[in-house]
């Protein structure tokens, strides 16, 4: 351990405090009893779809597109997820199939 136990607890609490503010802020700004403004309702309705797009990009942010293998394990596996999901429409199957393919690709093919 680099820090003392007291300092470590302080860092944990600081991380927790910063994180919790981001989780509670909207609920503080727009309490249950009051109706939020129309623009907030609009954002609440459309943000989930936009956030899924953001999260997909977020997961791929450290993939290197300029160095070999230029992202193929990720692209191939995402394509597999999409095809499986289109074909069978089973969430678990799509995710398991894509993940198995990805593990195979990074462990045995693109090493």
């Amino acid at each position: 351990m680099y820090l003392t136990p007291f300092q470590t607890v302080a860092i944990i609490l600081a991380v927790a405090a910063g994180t919790q503010i981001t989780r509670w802020l909207p609920f503080w700004l727009f309490p249950e009893k009051k109706d939020p403004p129309a623009v907030v309702l609009y954002l609440g309705r459309v943000l989930p779809a936009a956030v899924m797009g953001l999260l997909v990009v977020y997961c791929l942010k450290n993939v290197s597109w300029t160095a070999a293998p230029h992202g193929p394990p990720e692209l191939l596996s995402i394509a597999a997820v999409a095809v499986l999901h289109r074909w069978k429409g089973n969430v678990l199957l799509s995710i398991a199939g894509g993940t198995a393919l990805y593990m195979l690709l990074v462990q045995a093919v693109f090493v």
Partner: protein, 231 residues
Amino acid sequence: METVNRRRTAVKAAFPATVPVMTGFLALGVAYGILMRTNGYGPLWSTLMSAIGFGGSMQYVAITLLVTAFDPLQAFLLALMVNARHIFYGLSLLDKYKGLGKARFFMVFALCDETFSLVSTLEPPEGVERKDFYFWITLLDYLYWVGGTALGGLLGRFITVDTTGLDFALTALFVVLFLEQWKKPENRPFGLIGLGCAGAILAVFGADNLVIPAMALILAVLLGGRKRLCT
């Protein structure tokens, strides 16, 4: 007896939805426990961080804060910035999380990317209370992460199976939930806005400065195009 039955139905409905998160969180949680250990912080510390700090990518970032000069203010500010995306989640759940009573405290406390994705995309099956369904998704996801961390800290040295790439389960989960949102034609422009804005910011600013600029651009496009998008 009735409450026991109600709980059982809710867990039965919530568990299958969380299996992909279980896969990803166990893999990443174990890896986190091991990484903390190699930096001199045993299972007690890593589990405490996961239980109280609960924020996957932030906890990885926080490791660097545990091995340099003591600076809690920087830890606080970094957590605010890395996790700013949670503000979008709360905004989207204002309506869904109304009238949940005491359960809401935990559901907001533990609102992570994966739980948000499931809760915002899935509806409870018939016969299951919404509140119970969303509560159990939240609790199970939380337990996977904390449990995975403890496991990694305790048994990390004995795990010999090559799990490289197992964390792709979370990427696959987001892709599937993106496609689930895509099923509703009225959601498609917004899904494309999310992908496009985040992709453009990634190309311009790079991986280290993705979240806040991408959020700002998404907000600007959504608000600026509100009249045209809201048909």
